[in-house]
Symmetry: C2
Subunit: 173 residues, 2 copies
DNA sequence: GCCATCATGTAATTAGTTACATGATTAG
DNA sequence: CTAATCATGTAACTAATTACATGATGGC
């Protein structure tokens, strides 16, 4: 059900085509939600059917730019202020961290190195994004989330570094 | 596919019944993975079929305690060391944070208050868990994750507090 | 005796993934 | 002219949720 509101939210912030929304999911919402185009297009059709979004522009290559309607805005507002948050998560990264303690030291070193590498890349990417945002400073209302996701990574990073340091010692069992 | 490995991991750490595993998912794995009993039981049957787990004890009330087999351990080890992590997430809390900027100040105050309350409860719960773990100190290999999940909450918390402070000001648009 | 909890399942539906499929435009 | 990207869809399958369903045990 949250894809419904994720899409409304994206369109409330700025109209866009299904294609653009797919990209925004992989970029800005990367640390919050994921959806592929094959899920997005049918959902857009449903939102349209319900009168929550509408075509605001027809462009090149048969593209349609969607915008949120007043009804859509109200639906989104109500969801955000009146409904409980679904706290359930499925985070494979966290799951793997949880399981690291089960591995033999040598295997754990391999698994941790993989994570360290990912964090290094994510950190580099973040610094690029952060620099970009700093240049804009203000016009983007979505800054906190990018920041947030990366701060999480910073936490993970510290934890992984700790674990890397004593990866040669056997796990406390 | 990760439920497969989440279950193997749980059983590698300690055998348990489907019922117990359901509870462990809601407790220790709360910040990493979620699965309900109606998903867990069929998956256990599949793991059994594949020879990755086995019944190690039949107890009261028709309960069966499952344990991981050598093949299961190897399957888990290979997954953890040789496969890429699926980084896709669906985190409604993060999604909502992302969308806070779209609300009018008054609505945002409502939404933020809801989050603040949740964090207060989570923090209280964490302190209980932390005290418990401190008493045990050592025998539990799963300490880091509980800690990690809550550290994340601490990050969210700081961010929310900041936002609460200036929730009366209009969003930077 | 009854209620809470332990314990296990299945059925119907919705959500999400992977694979298949097609056409338009632009840059080189 | 051709490869990359833009742009949109559908079909088959798997994963997950919600609802339905049942029985055992223990404490009061």
């Amino acid at each position: 059900m949250s894809l419904h509101y994720a899409l409304l939210g994206m369109l409330a912030s700025k109209p866009g085509t299904g294609y653009e929304l797919t990209q925004r999911f992989d970029q800005s919402l990367r640390n919050a939600w994921h959806a592929s185009h094959s899920q997005i297009y049918p959902e857009l059709a449903r939102l349209d059917e319900a009168g929550l979004i509408e075509v605001v522009e027809e462009g090149q290559r048969n593209s349609r730019t969607w915008g949120i309607t007043a009804a859509g805005r109200e639906d989104l507002r109500r969801w955000m202020t009146e409904t409980d948050t679904d706290r359930r998560v499925r985070n494979e990264t966290a799951l793997r961290y949880f399981l690291f303690g089960l591995l033999e030291p040598a295997d754990r070193r391999v698994a941790l190195e993989r994570e360290r590498k990912h964090l290094e890349e994510a950190d580099e990417e973040f610094r690029t994004v952060a620099a970009h945002l700093e240049a804009l400073d203000g016009p983007t209302p979505f800054r906190p989330v990018v920041d947030l996701g990366q701060r999480l990574n910073a936490v993970f990073s510290a934890w992984v570094d700790e674990r890397l340091a004593d990866a040669d010692e056997p796990p406390a069992s």
